[in-house]
Symmetry: C2
Subunit: 363 residues, 2 copies
Amino acid sequence: MAIVTTCTQLQSCANSVHRSQQIRAIVSQKPFVSAQEVAERAGVSRSAVSRTFTPGASVSPETRRKVVEAADALGYHVNHLARGLMLNESGIVCLIVSDMGTPYRSSLIRAVTQQLQDAGKIAMLVNTDRSDGSVDLALRQAIRYRADASIILSGMPDKSITQLCLKNGQRLVLINRDDDQEGPFRINLDDAAAAGRLVTAFLRAGCRRLAFANSEAGTPSLMARERGFVAAAKAIGLEVVVERYGPTGYESGRVLAQRLLTQSERPDAVFCATDLIACGFMDAARHQFSISIPPQLCVAGFDDIEQAAWSSYELTTFAQPVEAIAREAVAWLGKDSSENPAERNHSVRLNADLVWRSSIRGG
Amino acid sequence: MAIVTTCTQLQSCANSVHRSQQIRAIVSQKPFVSAQEVAERAGVSRSAVSRTFTPGASVSPETRRKVVEAADALGYHVNHLARGLMLNESGIVCLIVSDMGTPYRSSLIRAVTQQLQDAGKIAMLVNTDRSDGSVDLALRQAIRYRADASIILSGMPDKSITQLCLKNGQRLVLINRDDDQEGPFRINLDDAAAAGRLVTAFLRAGCRRLAFANSEAGTPSLMARERGFVAAAKAIGLEVVVERYGPTGYESGRVLAQRLLTQSERPDAVFCATDLIACGFMDAARHQFSISIPPQLCVAGFDDIEQAAWSSYELTTFAQPVEAIAREAVAWLGKDSSENPAERNHSVRLNADLVWRSSIRGG
DNA sequence: GGCGCTGTTGCAAGCGCGTGCAAATGCTGC
DNA sequence: GCAGCATTTGCACGCGCTTGCAACAGCGCC
């Protein structure tokens, strides 16, 4: 019986050599070097090669030396696709982002990719600028590549898709996407609280006619900032003029300035929902309306993008703790899922610290 | 013989069922759904499922319907890791980048990822901010994940590594990394020529005392801009004051302003190697030296980042054709490698068009 | 009815890897 | 010298997939 088995093995083996050569000739001239080839060159078994590159496996120093030698003579690199197939763990983490040319987004991507790499993982980037529903498409892509996790920086996936991801053992992180779905790990800022604190700052600077310049995007973070600001103002008996327009960019800031600065009772303090809006607002205020900031007008923003520190703006703003966000996200990915059954539905809330610059007088 | 073979097959099959259940129980509670399960539910063979999701394969409409139905009842998604293993083509393209929080870099990343997705590929992002040699590490990572190609936006890999990539059938694209290596596809700008054209523009604006504000980074693009500018000036008998400092960011611009604007013969036209440098330069010139731009000083930059259009800068600058760069890169990836043997050593040079804004008088 | 042809389908092999199991090896202590 | 043990090694299997090959079904035509 054993002999017969060996016989069929040999037969199929002979077949395979023929087949694979044929296929290789067709598909590509020279595929990547495999563990098999390394094993042959080192005069050991393929398992020995595999074990050499598997941390914690049992290999004698002598064998390891031979393998390593042969490996980098041939330029061998472990195939992470195959490894992922075996281990059911690809090491890939999918970042789902729109507007990634934007300063805040790109700095967040930078921080996250760096942290992922430090944790031995790798980022796969999916751009969801195009249409709606593309967040769902992106998550499907993540499933196809068997990403260990997906981190969503923009948009909001359909509930059915997130359930699909979770059912497939994919972990999900939502950043600033305030949502009450169970399952995903959610990282949020204290948007409303931060915005509330700003009212006091404006008051101390002697401002009384407050305005809020928002985008029409209507994401939870933006709305929380608006709510927090308006509520805190109302609490001390002040009304806030709220204006909303367009996306969250520079141009919107200019338009919002047009609207807010042409009112009969011109505001003396404006909180812009994002720094980009604030930059546009300030530029329009200065160059079109010849208003000097701060004396005549105080402005604050949110995100603390690099440009906020530029001396043309010197913008007082709330800092997005990008490093902390990235750290939280990656740390959670590293955690054992079954660790804390009580933490099934987990989320974290981080502070946005106010960075004082001269766009508000006093301080 | 056939019977005996079947027998051993059955035996090993029985083993396998036992083993795989055991492994699954240990490794993870619930793996992704496989083609096997879809096949069983649809009452067809596993090959039928595979063919259903392979474009151009022969499946009857009836079978396809049954498969698709079962597939999305179970939430099945083709495993691209396994598919990549078979086809020797992962669909992954590796982007190797440093400073990706920077406006120019992030907009390039945006364009490339979008184009890749349109071409049915997916971007893997590697951050090389950390140490030197990390470009090599990044390329090794690309090899491990069997990326079909790597696109290098920053740094310069060691020759031995690029050779390794090419030998492994990986395609390589170098963007603005002027280099004479054979093999990689190189996309470059006409940096020197563009810079040369700027001299004429400055002249027409009545400037005579030219300066070039460069970073110390010394990348080929930056040096080409410097060379082109200096050469064109010399050609018409003008000397250029060249100053170099630090990285290519805003802060360097400020320092360079300190140096160039405190000279006895203050320049009346400054070409900054990047827009970020230009922004820093302009801010320092205006706010520290109270120089008004353009009357007293003309400034130009390079990249046409978003901030260059902001009304605080209105910077005349050369536009990086990011969309065209991305298109060229992705188009080349799609090409059959054996198509044009003469084009083995291929490269492309794109124009950087001058965008006129008010930081230079006249126009 | 038999034949050839076309379009589908299932079988089985193998992509490169990790790993349980059993065999082999080396070493200690009596 | 040999039992007993610890360590290392090789074998073989399967992860989920694609695909060549052969078997097969359907069909028109002589």
